[in-house]
């Protein structure tokens, strides 16, 4: 690997990210999968970094899942997107940040489509007006929330209590970065670092002391693929793709995986259990899996938040070995206590993969 070669490519794919005043839209599914992540985003940006990040309860889905499942046409999606933009315009913001990669891709696709076909934009404006009497301005800057964390990564590192370093050996932890497909594969110049060697998560890992693992199947989809998962008959295909990634990263012995997409961490995490059940194989050391985190969770850990407050008890793959490596203190007994310190019940533990 020639690091300078990558740096050269990264320098070609930079995007402008304003430092403040963002209109934030959430993901449909992240709050169910890893509920603390979006909470951490607002916590870090507003609380820790003191930024103006605005959100409104009136925003809806961007329509991306339905769009990628072929259940609604693009025109409908674009009208939904137009409404989101109208909410931003009404709130007086110009910088739009989405929590979801598919939403980010969806917004990018919509804006690019309008750029290529202005008559479509006119039509969508009409649609929106007819549907809900709203008008919008296109966002001046469009970002994914990981772009913002990337943008403030050094500040987070400065304020952080921990680094992604093995406490015992002092060696940087080996982190696989997994980028959601819709982040930059469609429009490489919309993502930090481009599509081939994205830098958005790699930059975070590097700033926080870890080492990025580059393995042959790094570009491959996590396996979610919308239709592939949503239709039960296709789930074998979904898990097979995930399996392919793990087989490819296995020789590198990564300590963790960091992701920036709603679906990826979920499937990379949960499918490890399914793969263990079906093949008897686990990819971490001593029968554990490889823990999978969202970038907000990693940022939270670096900043010293309590793992259970970050919602890490909702992970299938045990996160404790990773916490131990860094030296993050946690109370094992508190893992399944709610915010009110009451027991939230314990999941059944599988035999195929080691969990706590």
């Amino acid at each position: 690997m020639i690091y300078e070669g990558k740096q050269k490519i990264w320098s070609d794919y930079q995007k402008e990210i304003p430092d403040d005043h963002w209109y934030y839209v959430r993901s449909c599914i992240r709050q169910n999968f890893f509920p603390a992540s979006e909470r951490m985003f607002t916590e870090i940006t507003r609380g820790v970094l003191g930024k103006d990040v605005y959100e409104t309860p009136y925003h809806t889905t961007c329509g991306g899942i339905a769009y990628h499942c072929d259940t609604i046409p693009q025109e409908t999606v674009m009208t939904i997107v137009a409404r989101q933009f109208a909410l931003m315009t009404e709130a007086g913001y110009e910088n739009y940040v989405a929590s979801c990669i598919t939403s980010f891709g969806n917004y990018s696709e919509t804006l690019e489509t309008w750029r290529e076909f202005p008559e479509l934009e006119t039509k969508i404006r009409e649609n929106l007006w007819k549907a809900c009497r709203r008008e919008f301005k296109k966002p001046k800057y469009l970002a994914h929330s990981s772009d913002l964390i990337y943008h403030w990564r050094e500040e987070i590192a400065k304020k952080g209590r921990f680094r992604l370093v093995n406490r015992e050996t002092g060696e940087p932890l080996r982190i696989v970065e997994h980028i959601g497909c819709h982040y930059a594969k469609m429009f490489p110049h919309k993502g930090v670092g481009g599509a081939e060697y994205p830098y958005v998560l790699a930059g975070m890992v590097e700033s926080w002391g870890g080492q990025v693992v580059d393995y042959p199947e790094r570009r491959h989809c996590c396996g979610y693929g919308f239709r592939q998962y949503h239709v039960k008959a296709n789930r074998g295909y979904s898990v097979s793709n995930t399996h392919k990634k793990f087989e490819s990263m296995e020789p590198f012995h990564p300590d963790a995986i960091i992701t920036n997409c709603p679906g990826c961490p979920y499937f990379l995490d949960r499918w490890q259990y399914v793969i263990a059940e079906q093949t008897g194989k686990t990819y971490g050391r001593d029968g554990f899996g490889i823990p999978v985190f969202t970038y907000e969770e990693i940022a939270g850990l670096v900043l010293g938040y309590d793992p259970w407050d970050l919602g890490l008890q909702l992970h299938q793959v045990a996160v404790e070995p990773f916490l131990d490596k860094i030296g993050i203190e946690y109370d094992p007994k508190a893992k399944y206590l709610g915010l009110n310190r009451e027991d939230i019940m314990r999941p059944g533990l599988p035999d195929s993969i080691k969990c706590f």
């Binding site: 039960k232 074998g236 295909y237 898990v239 399996h243 399914v274 059940e277």
Partner: protein, 105 residues
């Protein structure tokens, strides 16, 4: 094992590092012209047995290079020799078929 109602499917990717090419390697020695196949498909197009079993000498050669099963295709070959007649590279495909039938296991 838990039943999820779906299973890991076998990868359809041809992994050339894990391909069993033993038969092909033998053929490269017994019928070295096999290497000169350029996959033009004349053999398949003229094949008398093709309508009965999907026989295609082009596919057979490729399948041997990729370590895939060739048995079903060869099961209806009539050795009529038309493939050899038409091969632009002069490969003795008929002998090749007999060699494959001999060395395949």
């Amino acid at each position: 094992m838990a039943d999820f109602g779906f299973k890991l499917s076998k990868s359809s990717t041809l992994d050339l590092d894990r391909t069993d090419t033993r038969v092909y390697d033998i053929l490269c020695k017994t019928d070295p012209d096999i290497r000169t196949c350029m996959a033009c498909g004349s053999c398949s197009a003229s094949c008398t047995a093709a309508p009965f079993c999907g026989m295609s000498m082009r596919k057979v050669i490729l399948a041997l290079q990729r370590g895939q099963d060739v048995r079903p295709m060869l099961g209806k070959c009539m050795l009529c020799g038309k493939c050899t007649m038409v091969c632009p590279r002069g490969i003795n495909t008929r002998h090749l078929i007999l060699s494959i039938c001999k060395y395949y296991d």
